[in-house]
């Protein structure tokens, strides 16, 4: 007990503090800009909400300082800036998009989002400070996998359908999107499985034409994974999650084995699966038709995508300014589901191409940090876990950003840290918290004896 207490020594985190100052400044300026766009007055718009958020960020920073761990200093500010942009966007949208009754008072969109963001920061801080060993993740990988499959089955059976997609799971008073948590579980399981069987996957046994494959039994998980992804599409109609899971799976297999042949097989399987799905299911075919030509039915199936493209077009290079985007059309927001599916289009309208590129840059930074943490890790499990966790956020951001911009068919995944939604924010906060824990550069070597004189040395000896 005394030993563990004494070994905790506060460690100043200058880089993180500096970046957080810029985050706070940017959010203040953004809030003033929002107030100008909405009300015409130059003041901080709803200062209390912003203050609560900034206090949460600073508290997390102070907790890291006091814990004395040598963890990454860039992840928290990046996450904080993305969450802050989300808060500005939710304040700007009509508050009655989401209303909940908590403790007898009605709370609107921005308040609910604020609660989730603060909870997310708390989760990140706790994971980043408390998690010191990864053996509990590694040892119970099949338990995690079973939990994940159980979660999936629960959604299959009890999930409620929203817009023809069976994504939501209602458990008592709580409802959530299990696929957000499933992606974290999937990465943990894959990291455990691949790090254990890496050397076997790298042996080249089976020859199949020009391709050299690993022994057949070790290919089985690949096929199982493909089947699960297809199952998600068939039962849940959730294209986004299927795409995300399969993409992360291929990336992690490639990182673990370094073999392009496995990726090629995966892509071939993916194309076959997509063709099959497009021919079998109307919803999938409709998505693809809208993607190919949204203007064929601009007021019906293509409405959402067309409105999104118009929003990007109105934004131009520098945007129309926060809060100055299109007002309601006949009591309706121009883009349906803008707060969950199309936040990037709303930001594209108000911040322009310049702003959207900055936001995409933030996601790139997040991925780069994760890959660096993976490269510096001491063993395969940690390396694969860090790479997988960062890629899952990166690929998800790519899928929905590309969907908004009509680069890929639109799918219903959330934009990490920016979209409205508790499950998404909590799951992505877990990801960042685990990355922080993995980035610890290890226990600090004991400090060299201070040259400042005998007094301190004597005091130190007295303590021992």
């Amino acid at each position: 007990m005394p030993r563990s207490i004494r070994s905790v020594r506060p460690r100043w985190r200058g880089g993180e503090a500096g970046l957080l100052v810029i985050v706070a400044l940017a959010l203040l300026v953004g809030s003033v800009s929002l107030s100008g766009g909405l009300t015409g007055r130059l003041a901080v718009y709803d200062g209390e909400t912003l203050l609560v958020y900034l206090v949460a960020l600073v508290s997390a920073h102070l907790a890291f300082v006091l814990s004395g761990r040598r963890t990454d200093q860039i992840l928290l500010p990046v996450m904080g800036l993305l969450g802050g942009i989300s808060l500005l966007l939710m304040q700007r949208l009509p508050q009655d998009l989401v209303t909940q009754r908590w403790f007898g008072t009605d709370v609107g969109l921005a308040q609910v989002q604020l609660v989730w963001l603060v909870l997310g920061i708390a989760i990140t801080a706790i994971l980043g400070i408390v998690v010191r060993s990864d053996s509990w993740l590694r040892r119970y990988k099949y338990t995690w996998a079973a939990a994940g499959v159980g979660l999936l089955l629960l959604t299959f059976v009890f999930g409620s359908e929203v817009n023809g997609q069976r994504l939501n799971l209602q458990l008592g008073p709580f409802s959530g999107q299990p696929s957000e948590f499933l992606k974290v579980i999937l990465v943990v399981f894959l990291a455990g499985y691949l790090s254990e069987n890496r050397s076997l996957l790298m042996e080249q046994d089976t020859r199949f034409g020009p391709l050299r494959l690993p022994p057949v039994p070790y290919l089985a998980p690949m096929v199982v994974m493909w089947a699960i992804a297809l199952g998600i599409v068939v039962v849940q109609r959730d294209l986004g999650a299927a795409l995300l899971f399969f993409g992360v799976f291929l990336a992690m297999v490639y990182v673990a084995t370094g073999r392009t042949s496995l990726v090629v097989i995966g892509l071939v399987l993916f194309v076959i699966g997509s063709l099959l799905m497009a021919n079998l299911f109307d919803t999938v075919r409709e998505r693809i038709d809208v993607w190919l030509d949204p203007f064929a039915d601009p007021l019906g199936t293509g409405y959402q995508v067309v409105q999104g493209l118009h929003a990007f077009a109105r934004g131009g290079l520098l945007g129309v300014g926060l809060g100055a985007g299109l007002p309601l059309i006949g009591g309706q927001i121009p883009i349906p589901e803008v707060h969950t599916d199309f936040p990037l289009a709303a930001l594209g309208e108000e911040l322009g191409l310049v702003g959207v590129l900055a936001i995409l840059g933030l996601y790139l930074v997040l991925v780069e940090r994760g890959l660096r943490i993976g490269a510096a890790a001491a063993d395969d499990f940690r390396a694969l876990l860090a790479v997988g966790l960062s890629l899952v956020v990166g690929i998800q951001a790519f899928i929905i950003a590309a969907g908004n911009l009509k680069v890929l068919p639109l799918t219903g995944v959330t934009l990490p840290f920016i979209s409205y939604g508790g499950s998404s924010i909590v799951a992505n906060s877990v990801v960042v918290g685990l990355l922080l824990a993995l980035s610890d550069k290890g226990v600090e070597p004991p400090a060299p004896p201070s040259p400042r004189g005998r007094w301190q040395r004597l005091r130190h000896r007295g303590e021992c």
Binding site: P77, L318, V365, R369, A377
Partner: protein, 145 residues
């Protein structure tokens, strides 16, 4: 031009500028980090950390940088001398082939173990796995980068 509108425009541009200032600072840190990492020599292929050792040699916590071929045993001519009564003179050899580490038991009396499983002839060993020679347990780790 209306004064308020002009100020509003400045505020808008300032927000975008601050976003890029943040990105600039972050990317500068990332680049410094990458340069520092690439300056460090990474000639070693892996590291062997002593997890538990009842005797004095090797000491618990000691880290050995590995060559492509590293021999372990009680004999003083080994790359890593394991001063343990349960270790053979020429106990095991670690080799790096292609892109993976392999461990070979050299017919030792008490055998070598990877994660508790006895090594039969040659076995693969991944980063993070534990190797036991005599009573001494090592863990194979990636080179620091």
């Amino acid at each position: 031009m209306d004064g308020v509108l002009f100020v509003l425009w400045v505020v808008r541009i300032l927000f975008l500028f601050l976003l890029y200032l943040f990105l600039y600072r972050v990317v500068r840190t990332l680049l410094r980090d990458l340069r520092a990492a690439s300056r460090e020599p990474t000639t070693t292929l892996g590291r062997l950390v002593v997890v538990a050792s009842p005797g004095a040699e090797p000491a618990t916590g000691h880290v050995f940088a590995l060559d492509a071929i590293t021999t372990l045993g009680r004999d003083v001519n080994n790359s890593i001398v394991v001063e343990d009564p349960f270790a053979s003179a020429e106990h095991a050899v670690l080799t790096y082939r292609g892109s993976a580490w392999y461990v070979e038991d050299l017919g030792s009396t008490n055998g070598s173990y990877v994660n508790g499983h006895p090594v039969d002839g040659v076995a693969t060993i991944g980063f993070g796995d534990e190797l036991q020679v005599g009573q001494v347990r090592f863990r194979l780790e990636r080179p620091r980068s």
